[in-house]
Every structure is written in C-alpha cells, then in structure tokens.
Amino acid sequence: MAPRTITPFGPQHPVLPEPIQLKLELEDERVVGVVPAIGYGHRGIEKACELNEYPKNIYLCERICGICSAIHGMTYCDVVEKLWPLEIPPRASYLRTIWAEMARTHSHLLWLGLLADAFGFESMFMQYWRIREKVLDILEITTGHRVTQSVSIVGGVRRDIDDDQKKHCIEVLKDVRKEAEALNNVLVNDYTVKARTVGKGVLSYDQAIALGLCGPHLRASGVKEDCRTQGYWAYGDLSYEPIVATGGDSFSRAAVRVGELYQAIDLQLEAFGKLPEGELAAKPKGNPPANEAVSRVEQPRGEVFYYAKGNGTRNLERLRVRTPTYANIPSLLVMLPGCELADVPIIVLSIDPCISCTER
C-alpha cells in the first residue's frame, strides 16, 4: 500500500474565491479521505439580526452573500411578511421575480466563467464575464447598485422599473442570450471540457436525496425539485418547469446551469411582458407578531431556507438562515474519495460553493 499523505486544499486556492479548507488524504494521486474545515468567514449575522430592528436586517441579510444578495434580501422580507401574514402587491411580486432572475442570470454566467477558469480556459472565462457585465449594468440601471441591490423592503419593493428601462433590459437580455449561446455551444461540445467533467463526482438519485442536496446540484442527479414550483411571488403565473439532468456528474451540473441560464432570461422576458400596474409596497401594521414562519426560495445555487420567529417587538426572536452551500458541502465527503487530485478543483467547483454565505 502506498503511503498516505495529508494535503491541505485551501483556504487560499486559485479556483476558490472564498476560504474553505479541505484536508485531503491522498494515496499517491488518489484521494481516499476528506475533511472540510470551514469557519474562516463566520460573522455572526444571525445573532446580529436578533439584536437589530427588523427593517434594518434587510441590509444585513443582503450582505450574507455578494452574488445572491438581492435574493437574500427578498427572502428575508418574505419570511417576515409571513409572520403577519402580509400580502404584497402584484407589481412588487413581479419586480422581485425579475430581479431574482437577473441575479440568477449573472450568477450562472459567473459560475460558467469560473468553470472555464478551473480548466485553464482563460479566454472563455473572460468572455463569460464580459457578458455578465451587461447583466450587472442592467441591474445597476434598475436597482441603483450592481452588487447589493437593496430593492426589497418588508411589504414590497422600493424601486420601480419604468418603460424605458424595461425596453432597454429586454434588448440587453436578448443580446446576452445570443452571446451566451455561442459560448455555451463551446462548453458543452468541446472535447477537453467533456474529458474533464463527464463521469467526475457522480452522485446517484438516492445519494443526492440522502445527502440533502439542493438546487442545480440536486437536479443534476435527476431529482425534479425546485423551490420555484411552490409558486411564490410571480412564479405561479409564469410558465416554469424545473430543468433536470440525469447524469449526476460535473457535466450534468454544468448542463443544468446552462439550461437555467436560458430559462432565467426567458422568465424575465415573460415577466416583463406580463408586468401588472399598481402599488409597489404594502405597509406593515405594527411590529411582527409572535409567530413563526419558514420561507424557502430558490437561489442560483439552490434552496435558501429562512426561519423567523417574532415576539411582538421590533426585534426578531430568532432568525435562522440556511444557505444552499451549507447543504451541498457534505456531498464533497462522498464525491471526492476515489477521484484524482487533479479533479478536485472541478468537483469542488461543480457544487458552486459560496463559503462566506454558508457561514454567515
């Protein structure tokens, strides 16, 4: 038997934008065991949310994650609204849907770029990020900021999309779709890409459920499960069908995300077409009552889970946030043993890890 060595992977590693350490136990080049070590980015946001007044928490929750910032803010508002419960106006739910899908578009473009980068396919990485910049620009035009959009408030949204902006957004989105098609064509047909992803990090249907995965990672193993099927906000009105792949490997995960990228653009175009007129926000009455609520929303990386407990004061008694990566990290314990050291970066990346958001 070859001698075993322990190799640390991270916390600073070129493929990881964020700090996570994997202690890999290696036998020659083969991984035989792995222990993830997280905790480099723990900020105590859940505790801070208990001490802050509830309207101020929106801005804190938006800073849990930089990429799904808008959706974190919206989900927080959603869970607090459920404490009353408070109905939000239809225009607000459409606008939330549009911004959530814009966030998904740019997040998937970011991930596809990072995937290309992990192969060493630098020019493709830059192409993806060039397209992504257009999406960020329309986000900035409509919300006021490219990263922390801060558009949601308890009861609705703060900003409106007027007709000029709407026209501009539709144009840009069509353009983005055309350019992304050209690049995705390369990604799904290229020989090297396939050699590095097909059959790597395979999880079967049963394993995926037993590990409690979520999001594209779960759907790539053939489980047709997506929070958007609950029909929150405007999703109930839009023609929406989860995208599923059956391979369960890194390639299927890429394929699901490519599919969702197009779907997100289509959903935005459809929502723009159906955008109803009306109020932007309903006014909450008094403080959140003593009640409990759960809100599950689909983020680009999977299901985000918010649990809130009010106690009739301006502060929440408890707020629990479970981000998608929190559920997806344990899958590394199963996927990595048995693979080559060189495949580790791509398998880790295939769950689209977002570590700081995991630790909150």
Partner: protein
Amino acid sequence: MIMLPTVVRNLFGGPATRMYPVTTREPFARARGHVEFNEDLCNQCGTCARRCPAIAIDLDKDKKEWILHPDRCIICEVCAEVCPKDAITIAPQWRAPFYKREAIIYHSKAVKEKGEKTGE
C-alpha cells in the same frame, strides 16, 4: 474550433474594459453613489439617524450638527427616503476611496416649527 467565431470577433473588436481610473463610465442616472446633505432644509428631527441601518449618522442637538460617517455608510438610501424635509439626497457618483476615517460635519439651519412632529 467551435470557439473560432468568438476569437475572430475579439481580434477585430475593441477592448471590453476601460482604463480605470483614467477613463470612467458616466454613472447611471439612478445609481446609488454617495449621500448629499442640504443644510438649509434639515431641522434636526433625527429620523435619519434612527433609521440608518449602519449607524452612519450622528446628531449633535446642542451644536446643531449633522454628522455623517462616510466609512460606515452603505449607501442604502434609507435616510433619503425617510427624511421628512428631503434634506438628504443620493447622488449617482461614486465616492473616491479614502485612507482615513473622517466624519463630515454639517450644520443644520432649518428650525423646528412648534408642534411639528419629530419623525416617527
């Protein structure tokens, strides 16, 4: 080879990036850039300081000072929305980076009228 059309287009197209900070893009009209304060309108009611999520606004009621800590401000636009006198606006230009944590002190000039509600 499937990448070829993209490669060719790039060869003849201009760069997609800008030479920041030599050339900057015009800020979008409704972007949130920085906080601007109008001394003539503020009457020291204190709503903005209470509602600011980042505790970036301080008031000194005796000296009638309105103090902004730009290093804490997250440019969320809450203060501008809640100010009953519209003394705060959000301008689209980004702030330049700074090296020191310095508060900006303004002097509020408007006076509270009798019986006027003070915020919430």
